[in-house]
C-alpha cells in the first residue's frame, strides 16, 4: 500500500486557491522584475511597454493631455450609463425626465453635471492634445497615420457632444441643433438629403431625438472606444512618444529607459486624480444649464450654436453660407489630413515649435492674427451692414468667392514671403500658417461665445 501523497507545506487554502486562479502574481509587486512581470501579465496594463524612455516622462512634453482625454472618456462612459437609466428619449418626456433626474434622483444633479463638464473638457483637452502633437512635430513618420486616427477621434468627440446637446430637449438644445443642422442646407447636392437623414424628416421632432439618442449612446461610444484602442496601439508601435530635445541638439541615442511601473503609471495616476478633482469641483459648484422646454414656435434671441461651433457661426455672419459651412471647413479638414504627408526638410519630432526660427515666427504671427482678426470683424460689422459686400453682385460671389479668394491669396503670399524673404524651412512655414489660422479661428470662437448678444450684434460681455 502506498501512502496518500503528503500535503505540501505551501498548499494554499480555499480562498487563496480562488485568488491564485485569477492572479498568480503578488498583489503588490515590490521589485523591478516583479513589476515588469506584473505589467506584462495584467489584462488592463499589458498594452503598455515594460520600459519607457526617461525623457518622455517630462510633463512639459505631453502635459498629460492624451491621458486626460482617455480618463474623460472613461468618466463619460461611467456617468453616461447611469444617466441612461434616468432618461426618456421622447420629446414629450425628455425634459421632465431631466427635471426629475436633477430634483429627485439621489446624486442625479451631480452625475448630470459631471457628464456635462466632462463633455466640454473633453473637446478642450482633445483639441489641446492635437495642438501638442502638432507643435512637437509628433506627426512625422512613423506617426503619420496616428495623426489621422487622432483627427477621426476628435470628430467623434465633437459628434458625441453635438448629439448629446439635443437630449435635454430645452430651448438651448432645440435651437442650437436647429441652427447647426440648418447649416447643412448649404452643402451642395447632398445637403438636403443628409439633413433629412440626420433629422429623420424635414423638421426636428421625435425621430430626430431617437436618432440623436442612438448615435449618442451606442454608435459614437462603440466607435470611439474601438478607435481609442487603435490609437494607443499605434503609439506603442511607433516606439512610444517623441523624445523631447532642444532645437539644434540630437536626442540621446539610445535613450535612457526606466520601468513603466511605477514611473509612468504613477504620473498618469496623479494627472487622472487631479483631473477628476477638477471635474468634481466643477460639477459641485456649477450646474449644467437647463433652459425652458423646447418650443418650436419661438426662437430665443440670440440663438447660439454650442461653443465649439461658435467659430463657424461667427464665420457665417461674415461669409456666404456656402463658403462658411462648406468650402472653408472642407478645405481646413483636407489641410489637416494632408499635414503629415507633406514633404518636410527635417523630422522635428520632440522639438517644441520645430526650431528657434519657428518659435519666433509663431509668436509674431499669433500676435498679428490676434490684432487683425478683431479689426476685420469690426470692419465687416460697421462698413458693410446691411446688405451685401459688393451690391449688384450675387451674394455667393460678393460675400463668398471674393473674400475666399482674398484669404487664399493672402495665405499664399504669406507662405511665399516666409519661404523667400526669411528662408524658412517647410516645417517652419507650414507651422506658421497653421498658427495664423488657429489664432484667427480662436478669436472668432471667443467673439461668437462672449461678444455676440441679441440679434447677434457685437456687445460687451
Amino acid at each position: 500500500m502506498t501512502s496518500p501523497p503528503e500535503r505540501p507545506h505551501s498548499d494554499p487554502g480555499f480562498f487563496n486557491r480562488i485568488r491564485l486562479s485569477i492572479l498568480t502574481d503578488p498583489v503588490i509587486p515590490r521589485t523591478d522584475a516583479e513589476r515588469k512581470r506584473y505589467l506584462f501579465r495584467n489584462l488592463v496594463l499589458h498594452f503598455r511597454p515594460a520600459t519607457v524612455p526617461l525623457d518622455t516622462l517630462r510633463f512639459s512634453l505631453t502635459w498629460g493631455l492624451g491621458g486626460m482625454a482617455a480618463v474623460l472618456v472613461l468618466l463619460q462612459i461611467g456617468t453616461g450609463v447611469l444617466l441612461k437609466f434616468a432618461y426618456t428619449p421622447t420629446p414629450v418626456a425628455a425634459y421632465a425626465s431631466i427635471q426629475s433626474l436633477v430634483a429627485d434622483v439621489p446624486f442625479g444633479r451631480l452625475i448630470r453635471n459631471m457628464h456635462h463638464w466632462c463633455a466640454h473638457l473633453l473637446v478642450l483637452v482633445a483639441v489641446l492634445h492635437m495642438l501638442r502633437v502638432f507643435f512637437t512635430g509628433a506627426f512625422h513618420p512613423p506617426r503619420q497615420f496616428n495623426w489621422i486616427i487622432g483627427l477621426t477621434l476628435l470628430s467623434f468627440v465633437l459628434l458625441a457632444n453635438f448629439s448629446g446637446y439635443l437630449l435635454p430637449w430645452d430651448q438651448l438644445a432645440y435651437w442650437a441643433v436647429t441652427v447647426s443642422t440648418g447649416m447643412l442646407e448649404y452643402v451642395p447636392w447632398i445637403g438636403f438629403a443628409v439633413q433629412k437623414v440626420i433629422r429623420g424628416g424635414p423638421d426636428i421632432g421625435p425621430a430626430t431625438l431617437r436618432i440623436f439618442f442612438a448615435v449618442h449612446t451606442a454608435v459614437v461610444p462603440i466607435l470611439l472606444f474601438l478607435l481609442m484602442g487603435f490609437h494607443f496601439w499605434r503609439v506603442r508601435k511607433a516606439g512610444g512618444l517623441v523624445i523631447p530635445h532642444a532645437p539644434g541638439e540630437a536626442p540621446p541615442d539610445p535613450p535612457k529607459r526606466v520601468p513603466t511601473l511605477p514611473n509612468l503609471l504613477l504620473r498618469e495616476t496623479v494627472v487622472a486624480m487631479a483631473l477628476i478633482a477638477v471635474v468634481m469641483m466643477l460639477a459641485i459648484f456649477f450646474d449644467a444649464p437647463l433652459d425652458a422646454p423646447a418650443n418650436p414656435g419661438l426662437s430665443p434671441n440670440p440663438t447660439k450654436a454650442p461653443w465649439y461651433f461658435a467659430g463657424l457661426q461667427e464665420l457665417l455672419l461674415h461669409l456666404h453660407p456656402l463658403f462658411a459651412v462648406f468650402v472653408l471647413p472642407l478645405a481646413a479638414a483636407a489641410a489637416l489630413l494632408t499635414l503629415p504627408y507633406l514633404r518636410y526638410e527635417s523630422d522635428t519630432g520632440g522639438v517644441w515649435f520645430a526650431s528657434r526660427t519657428g518659435r519666433m515666427a509663431g509668436v509674431i504671427t499669433a500676435s498679428a492674427a490676434l490684432v487683425m482678426t478683431p479689426i476685420l470683424i469690426f470692419l465687416d460689422e460697421w462698413l458693410t451692414r446691411p446688405g451685401n459686400r459688393f451690391s449688384g453682385l450675387p451674394a455667393v460671389i460678393g460675400n463668398g468667392l471674393i473674400p475666399f479668394v482674398c484669404l487664399l491669396a493672402a495665405m499664399a503670399l504669406f507662405y511665399r514671403m516666409l519661404r523667400r524673404r526669411f528662408s524658412a524651412s517647410r516645417n517652419e512655414t507650414v507651422q506658421t500658417v497653421f498658427i495664423f489660422l488657429l489664432a484667427a479661428f480662436s478669436i472668432m470662437t471667443i467673439t461668437g461665445v462672449w461678444f455676440r448678444g441679441a440679434g447677434m450684434k457685437l456687445v460687451w460681455p
Binding site: 435651437w175 436647429t178 441652427v179 443642422t181 440648418g182 447649416m183 442646407e185 433629412k196 437623414v197 433629422r199 429623420g200 424628416g201 424635414p202 423638421d203 425621430a207 418650436p296 414656435g297 419661438l298 426662437s299 430665443p300 434671441n301 440670440p302 440663438t303 457665417l316 455672419l317 456666404h320 453660407p321 446691411p386 446688405g387 451685401n388 451674394a395 460675400n399 441679441a454 440679434g455 447677434m456 450684434k457
Partner: protein, 177 residues
Amino acid sequence: MPKKLVDKDATAALPRRHFLTKLWFGLGLVVFGELAWIVTSFLRPRRTSPLAGDFGAIVTAGPANGFTQNSVTAFPRGHFYLACLEDGGFLALSRRCTHLGCTVPWISEDQQFVCPCHSSAFDIRGAVVRSPAPRPLDIYPITIENEVVLVDTGRTIRRSEFRPEQVAFGRGGANKG
C-alpha cells in the same frame, strides 16, 4: 482521386481555382451590398401622415373675407403665416428663416418678419429686406374654394424672388379674378 487529377491536368485546375476565388469574392460583395441595403432601408426616414390641421396636411385657414388687408395671421399648428397683402391677395409663408431655420416672428410695428438668430428681415411678401438670409421665405400653395382659404403645407415651394403670380386671390379679391 486527387493525385490523378493533378497528374492529368494541372494547368486546367488553376483557372478553375481563379474562377472560384473570384466567385467567392463576388459573393462577398453581394453580401456587403445586401447589408448596406438592409441598413439604409432600416434607417431611411419614414413618411408619417399628419393629423388634420397639423403641419404637412391641408390646413383650412378660414373665409377669404375674414382677413383684413395688410395683415399677417399666424397658424402655429400649420407652421405658417397667412399674409393678406394690401391688394387683398394671399401668401402662405413658411415661418422658417431661409438662413438657418429659426422661427421668424412677425413684428407688426415694423411690418417685418425679423429672425432672432441672425437678424435677417423679410417684408410682408416674404422678400428679403436684410441679409444674411439668401432667399425669400418659402411659400405653400393656396387654393381658395368657395371663398375659403386652404393651404397645402405638405408641399413647400422654394423661390428665388417674389413674383406677383405667387399671390392667390379670392373672387372678391381685386383685378386678377
